[in-house]
């Protein structure tokens, strides 16, 4: 399945990256490239909207962790939007729910910057 990556820059200072489809070892490199590209462009507050993601594997998790690390080293942040139980479960098992700020909606992710 094709991985959809759309950038919504209508909510400055936040850049929303809308991800759709399956993130696995095959498609994750495209997500990594997109995150690197956004950081290189100077974006520092990135929100990855995962509501349209049907599948997420450990390689995808690793790419998100890498993105978070890259942003934090630039005093930025990568937060996530996700309410799907099957995707949240992957974060819970790996203990990453306490590493990422995970919001229920894009509005929530782009208004509460306190954390």
């Amino acid at each position: 399945m094709e991985l959809g990556l759309e950038v919504d820059d209508s909510r400055p200072p936040y850049t929303v990256l809308v991800v759709k489809g399956e993130i696995d070892v095959y498609s994750a490199p495209r997500l990594r490239e997109k995150l690197v590209e956004l950081v290189t462009q100077g974006q520092r507050q990135i929100v990855a909207d995962l509501e349209g993601v049907d599948f997420l594997d450990s390689t995808g998790l690793g790419v998100l962790v890498g993105g978070l690390k890259r942003l934090r080293s630039h005093n930025g942040d990568l937060s996530l939007v996700c309410t799907q139980a099957r995707i949240l479960k992957v974060f819970e098992i790996t203990g990453l729910t306490s590493v990422f700020r995970i919001a229920a909606t894009v509005d929530e992710a782009t208004t509460s910057s306190t954390s």
């Binding site: 070892v25 790419v63 790996t94």
Partner: protein
């Protein structure tokens, strides 16, 4: 235990989506498993295939990944086999706790801990000729599963054809 699926695939990441689709669809139609367990199986199979491809690639040459699905009265098992140089799960590094800032340095190595918590039993059978990963999900056949027994699906692909 009866064999109901055998797939042989080239060592390319692009085929993993097909494996999880076929394994999950077969398990969903034939086994008494909740939708959530099918999702667990899908992810565990995907992780095992990712590792198998990596092992094959590290060993070099043209190597395939074999996936088999076995069904019994109270359990099903999926086996993913590579022909890499074998691996010892005991050699895996421990991840620091999530409160440790060092935790962010672990972008890889999450696959096996994930697999362990997703399936009921996980077993590695490393040999010098390659590694087999056996994953077990408890649960009997679905009430409306067909009467077919034995090998139901066989998929063999080759990048050369």
């Amino acid at each position: 235990m009866e064999l109901s699926l055998r797939m042989t695939l080239p060592s390319s990441e692009g085929y993993i989506a097909i494996v999880r689709l076929v394994v999950a669809s077969l398990a969903a139609s034939r086994r008494n498993l909740a939708a959530e367990r099918i999702d667990d199986l899908k992810l565990a199979v995907s992780e095992a295939c990712t590792n198998a491809i990596e092992a094959n690639r590290a060993a070099g040459g043209s190597r395939v990944v074999e996936i088999t699905l076995w069904e019994g009265a109270e359990r099903m098992e999926v086996c993913i086999t590579d022909s890499g140089s074998g691996f010892d799960p005991a050699d895996l590094p421990e991840h620091p706790p999530v409160t440790d800032p060092e935790r962010l340095n672990f972008e890889r190595g999450l696959g096996i801990p994930l697999m362990r918590s997703l399936v009921d039993e996980l077993r590695f059978d490393p040999t010098p000729e390659g590694t087999s990963v056996w994953m077990t999900l408890f649960g009997g056949p679905a009430g409306d599963a067909g009467d077919e027994t034995g090998e139901i699906i066989r998929v063999v692909t080759s990048e050369d054809t």
